[in-house]
C-alpha cells in the first residue's frame, strides 16, 4: 500500500489503462504540455506522445463531439473538461449524441467514452465557475455517472469507467485532488453501481458522494461527541445507483440525511431523498433531510460562498433534527 493523492491515483489509472489498451487516448485543454490544469495528466504526453495525449483548442463542443465520434467506431477516449462549468458548452454532444447513439441505432452502436474533470465549487470563483452540475448528467438515461472522494475509489472507478462500453461521466473536485489515502500496489478495479459504507453506525444514515464525503465524515465524528452513532454511505456511483445499500442502512438506522453540494431543486440529492421516502416509508422514524447548497448562484465573497454550501454544522443540525435532538 502506498499513500498517494487523488491526483496521482487518477494519473496512475490513466497511465495503466493507456499502457494496457492502445485504443485509450486523452484529450482536453492543457492536458499535454502543461501536464493538466490540475496536473492529473502529468507525464502522459512525454510517455505516450501525440495523438494519444492531445492539447485541444478551447472548443469544448468540438473536441467532446470528436471524441464521441471516435468512440463510436471503437476508440476509447478520455475527455478532460478543465471544469464542469465548461462542459456546458459540450452538453449537446454528451446528451444528444453520446447518450443516444446506442438507443437510436437499436443497439448497433456503443460509445465507450469517459468524461471527467473537476465539478462543484472551489474557492473565490463566483457564479460561473462554482457550479455542481451532476444533476444535469445523472438526469440522462444512457449515461453512467460516478464520483470519488478517496484515492482508492478514484483509481478503481476511473479504471472501470475506461473499460466500460458506455459513456461514463466522472465527477472530481479541485479541492480534493490533493487529498491523500492508501492505494494498493497491485491492480484493482471498483465496479460501478456499488456504494461504500465509509463509516458504520446504527442511529442515523448520512448519505453523500464526491467532495462532501470528507465533510460528512467530520460531521459523523462531531455527532459521536454528542453520543450519536452515525453511518456514512458514500454512493460513489450515481447511475447506476446502489439503492440496496441505501435501504439496508436506513433499515438499520431508521433515519436519513442526504448531503449533496448541488442546488436543492430537482437535484440528485432530492431524488435520493425521494427514493428513501418512498421505499423506506415504513422504516423511517423521521422525515428525510436534504443538506444542499443554498438555492442561489455562488457569490465571490468568501464568507458568503462558505455560507452557501453544506457545512459540518449544517449536517450535524440536520442529523439532530431527524433524531429529535433539537
Amino acid at each position: 500500500m502506498a499513500e498517494i493523492s487523488i491526483r496521482d491515483a487518477l494519473n496512475q489509472a490513466l497511465d495503466e489503462e493507456m499502457a494496457r489498451d492502445e485504443r485509450v487516448f486523452i484529450l482536453g485543454e492543457e492536458v499535454g504540455e502543461y501536464n493538466g490544469a490540475y496536473k492529473v495528466t502529468r507525464g502522459l504526453l512525454d510517455k505516450y506522445g501525440v495523438p494519444r495525449v492531445l492539447d485541444t483548442p478551447i472548443a469544448e463542443l468540438g473536441f467532446t463531439g470528436l471524441a464521441v465520434g471516435a468512440a463510436t467506431v471503437g476508440l476509447r477516449p478520455v475527455v478532460e473538461w478543465m471544469t464542469f462549468n465548461f462542459s456546458l458548452l459540450a452538453l449537446d454532444q454528451v446528451i444528444n449524441n453520446a447518450a443516444k447513439m446506442r438507443h437510436m441505432s437499436g443497439g448497433q452502436l456503443s460509445v465507450p467514452i469517459v468524461f471527467r474533470g473537476p465539478n462543484g465549487p472551489a474557492e473565490y470563483l463566483s457564479s460561473q465557475h462554482s457550479q455542481a452540475l451532476q444533476s444535469l448528467y445523472v438526469h440522462v438515461p444512457g449515461l453512467k455517472v460516478a464520483a470519488y472522494a478517496t484515492p482508492y475509489d478514484a483509481k478503481g472507478l476511473l479504471k472501470t469507467a475506461i473499460r466500460d462500453d458506455n459513456p461514463v461521466v466522472l465527477l472530481e473536485s479541485e479541492l480534493a485532488y490533493a487529498w491523500t489515502g492508501e492505494v494498493p500496489d497491485e491492480e484493482y478495479t471498483i465496479p460501478l453501481g456499488k456504494a461504500d459504507v465509509k463509516r458504520e453506525g446504527s442511529e442515523v444514515t448520512l448519505i453523500t458522494y464526491s467532495k462532501p464525503v470528507r465533510m460528512v465524515m467530520e460531521a459523523a465524528s462531531e455527532l459521536e461527541k454528542l453520543g450519536v452513532d452515525a453511518e456514512v454511505v458514500d454512493l460513489r456511483s450515481l447511475r447506476p445507483l446502489d439503492e440496496e445499500a441505501i435501504y439496508a442502512s436506513v433499515r438499520k438506522t431508521n433515519r436519513a440525511v442526504v448531503v449533496d453540494e448541488s442546488w436543492p431543486v430537482a437535484s440528485f440529492g432530492s431524488h435520493v431523498a425521494w427514493l428513501i421516502s418512498r421505499n423506506c416509508f415504513d422504516m423511517l422514524d423521521a422525515q428525510v433531510e436534504l443538506v444542499s447548497s443554498e438555492d442561489v448562484p455562488m457569490p465571490y465573497n468568501h464568507t458568503l460562498e462558505l455560507a452557501v454550501q453544506p457545512s459540518v454544522e449544517k449536517i450535524v443540525a440536520a442529523a439532530k433534527r431527524v433524531l429529535y435532538m433539537e
Binding site: 502543461y34 478551447i58 458548452l89 470563483l125 463566483s126 465557475h129 448562484p297 468568501h302
Partner: protein, 338 residues
C-alpha cells in the same frame, strides 16, 4: 464590403498633448492598479482566479478612447480590470470588488472576473471563454433594432473583446456570421496575446493571424499593433466610424502580450525570458512616453508627477476596499431575480 482605412502611426501622429496625456495616465493607472492587485493577492486580500492585464494596456485604453460610452457598449472576458478602468469605472469600486466587499461594483458577488458597470455601458467581465461574443452580438442587434424599428438616431456600436483562445469557440463563428447577415454594428477585437493559458496560438490554431477569419464572414479584417496605444486608438476610431456609417461589423486582430502568468497561480514556464523581455522592450507605456517626450509633450519630471498621482489613486482604492464592509449574509439571496 467597405474597406476600412488604417493609418500607420509614426510618433505621436496628428495627436495633441491634451489627447495623449489622458491615454498615458490611464495606461499607467491600469499598470499600477494591476501591480497593487498582485500585491494584495499575495497578502490574500484577493482570492480565486485573478488575471492581470500588464502589457496589454494599450488595447483597452486605445480602443475605448475611440468610443462614446453614452451610446456605445463594451463587453470583455475575465481579464477585465483594465477595460473596467478604461471605461471610466472608479478604481475604488474595482478594488473593492476584488476584495469581495459590498462597495464593489458587483457588490462582492463577482470578484476579479466579473466587473460590471451598466451606467457606463460596461457589460462585464465574462468567465466563460467566448461567452461574451454572442451577447455582444445581441447588444449590437438591439442597437440596429432601435434604429430600424424604433426610429432612434445613432444608437452606437458595440465593442467585443476576447482572447486568441476564444476564437476557436463556436460562439465566435456563429456570432460573426449573424452580425454580417443582419448588418450589426459590432467591432470584434481579438486580444491576441499569443497564449491561451499555457497554449501558444500556433499549437491550436490553423492560422496565427486572425484577420483572415473575417473573410469568411464578409467583413473587413484588420490587424493592429496592440502594444501601441496610438495605433490602437486610430485603428479602432477608423473602424468605429466605418461601422457607424455602414452599420456592418469588423474584426480586429490586436497583437499584444501579457507580461504575467495566465492567472496568479500560473508560473508561465511555457515561454522564455527572452520572449518576455523582447515584448517588455516595446512596452506600451514606454512607447507612448518616448514618442511624447520626443515631441516635447512630456519630460521625466512631469511623468514622475503623473505616476505619483496615480500611486495615490491606487492607494486610495486599496484604503477604500480595506475599510469597506463585508456583505451581509442575507445578500446571498439578493440579485437573483428582478
Amino acid at each position: 464590403m467597405a474597406e476600412v482605412e488604417v493609418q500607420t502611426v509614426k510618433g505621436v501622429g496628428k495627436h495633441k498633448k491634451e489627447f495623449l496625456l489622458p491615454l498615458l495616465r490611464q495606461m499607467q493607472l491600469i499598470r499600477r492598479f494591476e501591480e497593487k492587485s498582485a500585491q494584495m493577492y499575495g497578502l490574500r486580500k484577493i482570492g480565486g482566479f485573478c488575471h492581470l492585464y500588464n502589457g496589454q494596456e494599450a488595447v483597452a485604453v486605445g480602443a475605448l478612447s475611440a468610443l462614446d460610452l453614452t451610446k456605445d457598449y463594451v463587453l470583455t472576458a475575465y481579464r477585465d480590470h483594465g477595460h473596467a478602468i478604461a471605461a471610466g469605472m472608479d478604481p475604488k469600486a474595482v478594488m473593492a470588488e476584488l476584495y469581495g466587499k459590498i462597495t464593489g461594483c458587483s457588490r462582492g458577488k463577482g470578484g476579479s472576473m466579473h466587473m460590471f458597470d451598466a451606467q457606463r455601458h460596461f457589460l462585464g467581465g465574462n468567465g466563460i471563454v467566448g461567452a461574451q461574443i454572442p451577447m455582444a452580438t445581441g447588444v449590437a442587434f438591439a442597437q440596429m433594432y432601435r434604429q430600424q424599428v424604433m426610429d432612434r438616431k445613432d444608437t452606437g456600436v458595440t465593442l467585443c473583446f476576447f482572447g486568441d483562445g476564444a476564437i476557436h469557440q463556436g460562439a465566435f463563428h456563429e456570432s460573426l456570421n449573424l452580425a454580417a447577415v443582419w448588418n450589426l454594428p459590432a467591432v470584434y477585437i481579438v486580444e491576441n496575446n499569443q497564449f491561451g493559458m499555457g497554449t501558444a496560438v500556433k499549437r491550436v490554431s490553423a492560422v496565427e493571424d486572425f484577420e483572415v477569419k473575417a473573410t469568411g464572414y464578409r467583413m473587413p479584417g484588420i490587424t493592429l499593433d496592440g502594444m501601441n496605444v496610438i495605433a490602437m486608438h486610430d485603428g479602432i476610431k477608423a473602424a468605429v466610424a466605418q461601422v457607424r456609417e455602414d452599420r456592418t461589423p469588423v474584426l480586429i486582430d490586436a497583437k499584444t502580450y501579457r507580461y504575467k502568468g495566465h492567472s496568479m497561480s500560473d508560473p508561465a514556464k511555457y515561454r522564455s525570458r527572452d520572449e518576455l523581455e523582447a515584448y517588455q522592450e516595446q512596452d506600451p507605456i514606454l512607447i507612448l512616453k518616448a514618442v511624447m517626450s520626443d515631441a516635447g509633450m512630456i519630460d521625466d519630471e512631469e511623468y514622475k508627477q503623473l505616476d505619483d498621482e496615480i500611486r495615490m489613486i491606487v492607494q486610495e482604492a486599496v484604503d477604500f476596499a480595506e475599510s469597506s464592509d463585508e456583505p451581509e449574509l442575507a445578500t446571498m439571496y439578493e440579485d437573483i431575480y428582478v
